[in-house]
């Protein structure tokens, strides 16, 4: 092994492939390695040679590849392969696991097996090992350094190491409920004054609620008992005044709280939606639309209820409990203690109930979500449902989920209906004790009748808020769950990060270069590898290849919907990761196979990428796109409203609107993703004509299945299995006799049939 190669490899090593190994492994290794042998890599893996879970270590030195297994604590050298025997290494991808193999002159040796948990490290190790092996398809020198390491997303919690919920940056294990509540309350900050006034009114309201009991005592002891007629009217007047004030405060406070709830939720909804728009494409492709929508609407709505109603209920109830306690103890300490007797029991059962109901509610919520998913699935696909006459099956699917939801809802109802009467029984038992002991006290003359009556009134007023607080427990749980989900969205950071020092270029020529680009959606499964090519300003690059070869992925990388794993993409010599994301996407125009038109007028849709475009510009763009004629022919012309997906227009018409949209945006780089493949031949000609106008002077990447549309390309790239299989002009490739020429011949024959 030449020193230069070892040095090159050493530059690539990092903590990912140089893990610490336990002492007993070190000891075993010390016996096996030669003196002066340099260790390059050490890697832990979790599957043994027999395919069981267990500890194993992989070691690569400048002289050998080795694997050590551990059997009940005894470490054994299981694989010991001199490096000069290794011709090639290969990484095998299986479901749920993978294997790293070394191939010699006479056999293949399995170095390690690994679960997907270890896959990212092994994948790194494999890429380095390829350079170590003697003849890695002769390309060990081709891959030059220069690519930055992929900024891997933090998938695990920094504090506890647990995997985080999908697309989330929040660790639910490390998140504290108190903090969550605090964060929710923080939304009240902009409305501090209203919140404080509301709180004060609430406090007054609670106090006023207790005064009647106190006045009743005066009424009985100081008015009725001594027969003091003169005091009757003022006392009744005071009672009337208290009730009136309470009603007034109730009205004002109620509205203030509702207003507050609505405002806060308004802010939150706007914030969540703004944030959603910022998130990377990966987020949306992983989540069902229904789920995202549920977070924006349902969860936030539940929070509104909580902030407007729940929070103030808690405040009122908590305050009431404290004040009543104080009044009870002040009036008669012993009786007060008796009154409080059932409280621990109530507290405990509330806690148990809360846990139970929370689990059930979660199940209800999940089933609700799954029900919504069925609807969200079947309604947009209603044409398919009907044309296959599967209405009954869809109804059945819905029914099934509905039943499962019903089951859980009934389970929740059973819990509720059992809990509250039991609760009532406990409080009733408490009241019996108070009645008994209180009556005795009055009859023995230790207490006046007025105090007893006040006690009994307060007692009922006391149990009620305690009960309500018990109910609050689950409401808070409910709201916190929703809050968590909403905050999860807010805390998700875009996977495609923007450097703070990102730049904008003054002028863009449109020179695009891919350098050794590797990309994978999942670690270890490369979708694109070793992609290198260059497109000069104004050139047209055709991309062909079987479906699944990575064509669409390649152009998506150009818009930075995803980041490359290795290598670089350059625009005018700048790494696109150094450019402002917004700026980059302004330079790129996309025409898709299935154009998406938004709900709005045709003019709005054309001007989507260039808001504020003049009617002149819109018409000019429409003309260039061969769309003007059919648009003016519409009853409402450019003001025609197009539906959710532009249902009103035909496929070819929608396509031309989307081309007009791209023309008006005037991008330097254009991506045509099978722009003409879903229309008839005549329309295709119209569209092709429009496209020809669009592509002139722009660097264009065109994905096409109909190879005839690519004849004018300056360069055609044939992708196969994520690699560039061939590259060249149409004529070159045709002469080359490779995959492209084969595809061309096939299509030529097909088109003969089509001519019929």
């Amino acid at each position: 092994m030449e020193t230069s190669r070892i040095q090159e490899i050493e530059r690539l090593l990092d903590g990912d492939v140089q893990e610490e190994v336990p002492e007993e492994v070190e000891r075993e290794l010390a016996g096996a390695l030669d003196s002066g042998e340099r260790r390059l890599m050490s890697l832990y893996t979790d599957i043994t040679a027999d395919g069981e879970y267990g500890d194993r270590w992989f070691i690569a030195t400048d002289r050998r590849l080795a694997a050590l297994g551990s059997d009940n604590g005894t470490v054994r050298l299981e694989v010991n392969l001199p490096l000069d025997q290794v011709r090639r290494v290969r990484l095998r991808d299986f479901i749920g696991s993978g294997a790293l193999e070394a191939i010699t002159e006479s056999e293949a040796v399995e170095l390690i097996r690994f679960s997907r948990t270890i896959a990212p490290q092994v994948s790194r190790a494999y890429h380095i090992l390829r350079r170590l092996a003697v003849d890695e398809e002769g390309d060990s020198d081709k891959r030059k350094p220069g690519g930055r390491p992929h900024a891997a997303r933090a998938l695990r919690c920094e504090r506890c190491g647990r995997a985080l919920a999908q697309w989330s940056e929040v660790c639910p294990f490390c998140m504290e409920r108190g903090k969550l509540l605090l964060r929710l309350v923080n939304y009240l900050a902009p409305y501090k004054t209203v919140a404080i006034i509301g709180f004060l009114l609430t406090a007054t309201f609670s106090l006023l609620q207790l005064l009647p009991a106190y006045i009743t005592r005066i009424l009985i002891d100081d008015v009725i008992a001594p027969g003091a007629f003169s005091r009757l009217v003022p006392i009744l007047g005071a009672l009337a005044a208290i009730h009136l004030t309470r009603a007034l405060i109730g009205v004002v406070r109620g509205y203030m709280m509702e207003w507050l709830g609505a405002r806060v939720v308004f802010d939150m909804r706007v914030q969540v939606y703004d944030h959603l728009q910022m998130l990377s494409l990966g987020f949306f492709s992983r989540k069902q639309t229904g789920q995202i929508m549920s977070r924006v609407t349902n969860d936030i709505m539940r929070l509104q209820f909580f902030i407007a109603d729940g929070l103030q209920q808690i405040l009122i109830n908590a305050l009431t409990v404290v004040i009543i306690c104080f009044m009870l103890f002040h009036a008669h300490a012993k009786l007060a203690a008796l009154t409080l007797l059932p409280i621990p029991l109530i507290g405990l059962s509330t806690y148990v109930f809360g846990r139970l109901i929370h689990t059930v509610y979660h199940k209800v919520w999940r089933r609700w979500a799954s029900l919504s998913a069925v609807v969200a699935d079947a309604i947009p696909g209603i044409r398919v449902v009907k044309s296959f006459a599967q209405e009954e099956r869809e109804s059945h699917r819905m029914r099934e989920r509905s039943e499962s939801l019903l089951d859980q809802e009934l389970r929740a109802a059973r819990l509720w209906t059992f809990f509250f009467p039991t609760f009532g029984l406990m409080t009733a038992a408490g009241s019996l004790v108070v009645f008994g002991y209180g009556s005795l006290q009055v009859m023995q003359g230790y207490m006046t009748l007025g105090v007893l009556v006040m006690f009994i009134q307060l007692m009922w007023q006391f149990y009620y808020p305690v009960q309500m607080l018990g109910e609050m427990n689950h409401r808070v749980q409910h709201a916190l769950t929703s809050a968590e989900r909403v905050f999860e969205v807010l805390d998700t950071t875009p996977e495609v990060p923007e450097d703070p020092g990102s730049i904008k270029l003054d002028t863009v020529e449109g020179r695009v270069e891919f350098r050794d680009v590797d990309f994978s959606y999942e670690p270890g499964k490369l979708v694109l590898s070793d992609i290198s090519f260059r497109a000069d300003p104004g050139q047209m690059v055709g991309l062909v290849g079987p479906s699944g070869a990575g064509k669409s992925t390649l152009v998506q990388l150009l818009s930075r919907f995803y980041d490359v794993e290795d290598g670089q993409i350059l625009l005018d010599g700048h790494d696109i990761r150094d450019l402002s994301l917004r700026f980059l996407r302004q330079q790129v125009g996309v025409v898709l196979q299935e154009p998406f038109l938004f709900h709005g007028t045709v003019a709005d849709n054309i001007a989507y990428g260039a808001p504020g475009a003049t009617p002149d510009a819109i018409i000019a763009a429409a003309k260039a796109a061969n769309a003007h004629d059919f648009i003016v022919d519409l009853p409402h012309g450019y003001d025609t409203l197009v539906g959710e997906r532009g249902q009103l227009l035909s496929g070819g018409e929608r396509q031309r609107v989307s081309i007009a949209r791209a023309i008006l945006k005037n991008p330097r780089i254009l991506i045509l993703d099978e722009a003409t493949s879903s229309v008839d031949t005549e329309t295709e000609m119209l569209i092709q004509e429009a496209l020809d106008r669009l592509v002139s002077n722009r660097t264009t990447f065109a994905i096409a299945h109909r190879l005839s549309t690519l004849r004018k390309s300056d360069k055609i790239i044939v992708l196969e299995h994520g690699r560039i299989a061939e590259m060249g002009t149409h004529d070159d490739l045709l002469d080359g006799g490779g995959l492209y020429s084969r595809l061309c011949k096939l299509q030529a024959e097909l088109s003969k049939v089509r001519a019929w």
């Binding site: 599957i47 879970y53 769950t481």
Partner: protein, 179 residues
């Protein structure tokens, strides 16, 4: 043309179509590994295919025991329906290859599930040994046909509970909260 259409409509027609699946009778097929750990497959009197990988047609539902053999370009070279008819050596080789291709340990006992709103840490005993894994999303725990449970952890590892009713009470109670 019309003839063919009517044939397709009838049950017999489908039988004929099935024959055209290029389904190979498993009893005529030999499967073995070579020193390069490559899988070979050959049907009697036909071409030998080297470096193929087996793929189950219904790996999740197990609706039928079709096993397809794919070459390096992911093209099917052979399809068999009942691997039970293979000779003993071939069956052993196939089992070994499938065992590698689908590493889906079966959970036999659930020791603990720490759940915090969807993200959960599972501690389990499987037929391949003890394992702790994190599930990122409740949707990664799927119940199939009422009693089979398929799981995928945060890293893409797969697990299976063959029949949740065969689990002990505690395991089932823990599982119940997740499904």
């Amino acid at each position: 043309m019309t003839e063919e259409r009517s044939e397709r409509g009838s049950g017999d027609g489908w039988e004929a179509e099935l024959a055209r699946l290029r389904l190979t009778d498993a009893s005529t097929v030999r499967i073995w590994h070579d020193a390069f750990r490559r899988l070979h497959v050959q049907a009697e009197g036909q071409e030998e295919h080297v470096d193929v990988r087996p793929a189950r047609a219904f790996p999740v539902t197990g609706a039928a025991d079709y096993i397809s053999f794919l070459d390096g370009d992911d093209r099917e070279v052979l399809l068999i329906q009942n691997p039970g008819a293979l000779d003993a050596d071939s069956l052993a080789a196939l089992r070994q290859a499938l065992g590698r291709a689908y590493f889906v340990p079966k959970i036999v006992q659930i020791l603990e599930i720490e759940d915090a709103h969807g993200a959960a840490r599972w501690e389990v005993e499987t037929d391949r040994g003890y394992r702790v894994f994190d599930v990122r999303d409740r949707e990664d725990v799927r119940v199939i046909g009422g009693s089979r449970v398929l799981l995928q952890d945060a890293d893409g590892n797969r697990f299976e509970i063959e029949d949740l009713f065969d689990l002990d009470d505690r395991s089932r109670r823990l599982l119940d909260k997740e499904i």
